[in-house]
């Protein structure tokens, strides 16, 4: 199974997490740790760039749900960007587009925060 990777990038007050590979029950804790760290640093404006993500399981989807409530309480948000068609289908089936904002380009998502 392909590995999973999280890369952290600061764009002003917005934090961008570039995730790639397979996000499943085994790799979900890595992603969780990355998000926990952002919240600890009081960074609540988060864009997750899904460009390199090849697969997401229900456990991976659960990670977004685990943080969204706290982030939104602190006037922040988690926005998703550059998701591939195949992975978007999984998000779409579950109804994620009604809970999260999806963007074609990461820059647009970052800009959205400043507006």
């Amino acid at each position: 199974m392909a590995n999973f990777d999280v890369a952290h990038e600061e764009k002003g007050e917005v934090s961008v997490l570039n995730i790639s590979g397979y996000l499943d029950a085994h790799t979900a804790p890595d992603f969780e740790n990355a998000l926990t760290k952002l919240l600890q640093d009081n960074r609540f404006k988060i864009v997750v760039n899904l460009q390199g993500l090849q697969y997401i399981s229900s456990a991976g989807l659960g990670v977004f749900m685990g943080f969204i409530e706290e982030v939104r309480e602190k006037d922040g948000d988690i926005k998703l960007s550059e998701v591939s068609e195949k992975v978007f289908k999984v998000f779409d089936l579950l109804g994620f587009p009604s809970l999260y904002e999806f963007y074609d380009e990461t820059e647009k998502a970052v800009e959205k925060f400043s507006n």
Partner: protein, 744 residues
Amino acid sequence: MRQIPSKIFYLLVPVLAVGVFLIDSFFRIIEHFDFNINLSFLALSLQNVRIIIVIALVAAWVIIVRRRFEISELELSQKLWRFSLLLFVNYAIAYLLKDIILADYLIGDIDRQKTVLEALVHEFYKNIVGLMTIVTLIPILFVLRDLIFYRQRRTTRLYFNLFLGMLLISTIWVSYTGETLDFLSPFADLPNAGSTMNIILVWSSMIVILLLAFRNDWITYLPRKQKFIYFGIGVIVYLMIIFLRDDIYEGYLGNSTVAVGYLQEYSFAVYNFAIFVWLLLLIYATFSMVTLLMHLPTAKAVDRKLKELTSLYDFARLLNTELNAEKLPQLITQLTSKVLESQSTWYMEYRNPVAPNMKLISHINLTQQQILDNPFEELNGLNQQLLDEKKPILINDISQNRSLRHLLEWKKDARTLIAAPLFSSRDQIMGVVYAAKPQPFGFDIDDLSLLEGFANQSAMALENAQLWNKSLEKERMEQELKIARDVQLKLVPQSMPLITGFELESFFLTAYEVGGDYYDFIEFGDEQTGVVIGDVSGKGTSAAFYMAEFKGVIQTLSQTLNSPKELICHANRIFYSSIERKSFVTAVVGKLIPEKKIFQFVRAGHTPILHCSPKNKTVQYLQPPGLGIGLDKGPVFEKIIAQESITLDHGDFLILSTDGLMEARNASGDEYGEERLQALISNCHTYSAAGTKDRILTDVMDFIGETPLHDDLTFIVIKFGQGIPEIDTPAPPDKTKKQEKVAK
């Protein structure tokens, strides 16, 4: 021979012995009174009869000793005890008769015997000596044989049989020729020198005897204490052997320098036999005494080595029978203390919760204060050295060791210290065993190697016990999971409901023992049948719990609600408040309305429903908008979710499944996929629901091949058609009732 009971031989021995005595007395009386009768013919035959009687006596006794004495079964110490006792009996009886009871009447010289009584006493004593010799010497020979055979070498038995052969030949030779065995003429010019044959016989026997005399291995393995005791007793026994010939067989009386020769007089053959065996006894005893004496200085070392061997064996045996990891440390200290004869012993267990340290687990002879102040808890000093070197350490005198002198403040009476680390088979430190003695140089280099052996055995035993516990725990967990699995399998329908116009089939398989997939048939408030399929996020045990909860919620709500949308919205509100934030459930809830040929359904984030319509020649996925249950507390969920209805035609198929079906992977990681299923279904409208189920299953299993399932696999096949469907499993009564209602 074997059939003859031993009793007969027991009876035979005294009868024969008395017979000999009577014959001897008869001759003496005739001789004494000097009856002037010619007895030469009678005397000759009687003498021959006497010889035969003596031989029979010896034979009978040999048989008794072999049959009844069971000398080979005795312990070594018992054998030696019997040996000494038999020798002593000779002296006791001889002394009693010769010096006390018959002292006044026993006159050695036949010519000086005046009265009939004196003559008969002479004959009596002679017979006693003869009988005594036979009775004691034969068992002595058997004991001697066992000693010689103690640790047999290839040639031992040969030499001994050779000796017996020589014994027999010599006895026959001397009986025939009347010569006494001559040991000395080759060295001294004696008047009555033996014939050449005599000398050859004697000296070849001597060589065999010498060879046998070296066979005293039984001494080597004696414990030290016994070596000393046996040597002490051995001196007395040796003296008894030396004087056996002169005092008993030759029969010197008082201060007389002339031998009476009682035994010779009794029987020339027995006399020669006795002398021969006596020679073996004397030489064997001499060699044994010398060997014993030589072993005395090294006895302690041999003892130690033997003790080490046996204690290592005992140690391993005891440790291996103990599988309780809690009790083992106590056993380790106890055994170590016993074998090393240490004053105090303690075992420190290696622990690594946060920072590595050592903890005192068991001890012998440490005071409460010493336990509290234990200086061996840190991983430094001696502990560190043991861990680094992985070898046992011996400190001969702590007071002379500058870096360890402070230990005396902790324990004054720990002058010598010995310690060994316990390493697991994977080279992980498990603990250290320490032992101390109050005097300096209390342990030696042997103790060090012994302790190393113990430490290795202990580590092995501890590891075994841990593995055993782990396997027990694993077995228990497996049992628990098996129960959980059985329970979960009871949570899904055990049979299909009967609904006019519908054929229903289902398949349910978890990837692990328990899973998060769920399907069910429900009854709405308006008594119409509903079908539910769901999938809890995540896998395994937590998913299984939510699955059970989900079933409870759905079953409860369905009784009062009439539409799938209402049901799923209520379920979402209940679930949102109880489920873990990162968990959710996807589901499809459908309602079958046979009268209107309608399938009404909602999709809460779940895999789309496959609809196959032979009439329209379409195979399509139905995917109305919807959100997973537990993702939103209500408003968004209720806004998004859409209830749809489709009208069913004759022959229509509906496939409800979890993502385990679409995402079933083969060895190269490819997914089964929607298209594959679509293609399969478009082709099978001529099949029944059961046939379709089998086709899907076969197709998926063929696709994944040997690859194990990575997700639960559940699907329901619904076929709409006229008439009563063929159902394999008999429907339960309540379902039948429903069928009647539906039929109305």
